[in-house]
Amino acid sequence: MKFAVIVFPGSNCDIDMYHAVKDELGAEAEYVWHDAESLDEYDGILLPGGFSYGDYLRSGAVARFSNVMKEVVKAAEAGKPILGICNGFQILLEAGLLPGAMRRNDSLKFICRTVELKVENNETMFSSAYGKGEVINIPIAHGEGNYYCDEAVLAELKKNNQIVFTYNGTNPNGSLENIAGIVNEEGNVLGMMPHPERAVDELLGGADGLKLFQSIVKQWREAHVVKL
């Protein structure tokens, strides 16, 4: 399985993402610049964290109109797994691939620490290696992770089991219903504020994030590799 790590001007978690997938997961990965014309050769698309285009105007608002995003939309429609982490999540929201929007953290502070997440839905292609209700430790690092959507959208998210991760215990940023990560209705686009790619090795303080990437590969193998 071959992943594309999309790099925007201002991305800064692209190297962590590449390391997680290539070195820790053992899958193929390539950096793909924001003006790329095609993503046809990739099986999974990863939108890393950072501050694309300096977060000017709003987080993700400018990146959403970059050339490669047309291809990301195409890949999403084709059912390929799309994972947006932190700024990547914000870009997916701005692009309309996921519903809702991000507000500034209710504390108005940039928060950088490890938090507990609860796996609310382990029946997605991103979370199948976790147990339902499993509590995992994943770092967060954001100033705008305060997820918001209106009541109608929230009702849909709940009805379709689209809330994949919530903050366990204290809510660090004020997000609606403690939401930390959601999938689209089809289940192949995940956006989350916490950074699983920073939790892939005990040496780095924890490896709870690795199962997320393993889940993606597991689903892909089941769908694409013929059993002997």
């Binding site: 105007l57 709003r58 608002a61 109109f65 929201l93 701005e94 809702g100 929007a101 507000r103 500034r104 953290n105 209710d106 504390s107 108005l108 918001y148 959507c149 209106d150 004020g174």
Partner: protein
């Protein structure tokens, strides 16, 4: 040529944490008459005349990029400007 002033603020239904902090600060300075503060963005666009009505073009720009209509409201003022 037009000069367009665009104002973007968080929707009334969306809590504005910056506005709340500023309101509390004003209260602590004894401006008790302030009942609400909303903080937003102000943008100035210089727009050349074209075949398209300027209102239509600016509205589209606001909807697509300048504001996120999920959480933000926008309004704009258009002034006809004389080229310098």
């Amino acid at each position: 040529m037009y000069k367009v002033k665009v104002f973007v603020t968080l929707r009334e239904s969306v809590l504005d944490p910056q506005g709340t902090v500023v309101k509390n600060s004003l209260h602590s300075m004894n401006y008790s008459e302030v009942s609400d503060v909303r903080i937003g963005k102000y943008m100035e666009l210089t727009v050349e005349k074209s075949d398209r009505p300027v209102e239509e073009a600016v509205k589209e720009m606001c909807e697509r990029l300048l504001a996120n209509v999920v959480i933000e409201d926008y309004r704009f003022e258009i002034e006809e400007a004389v080229a310098q």
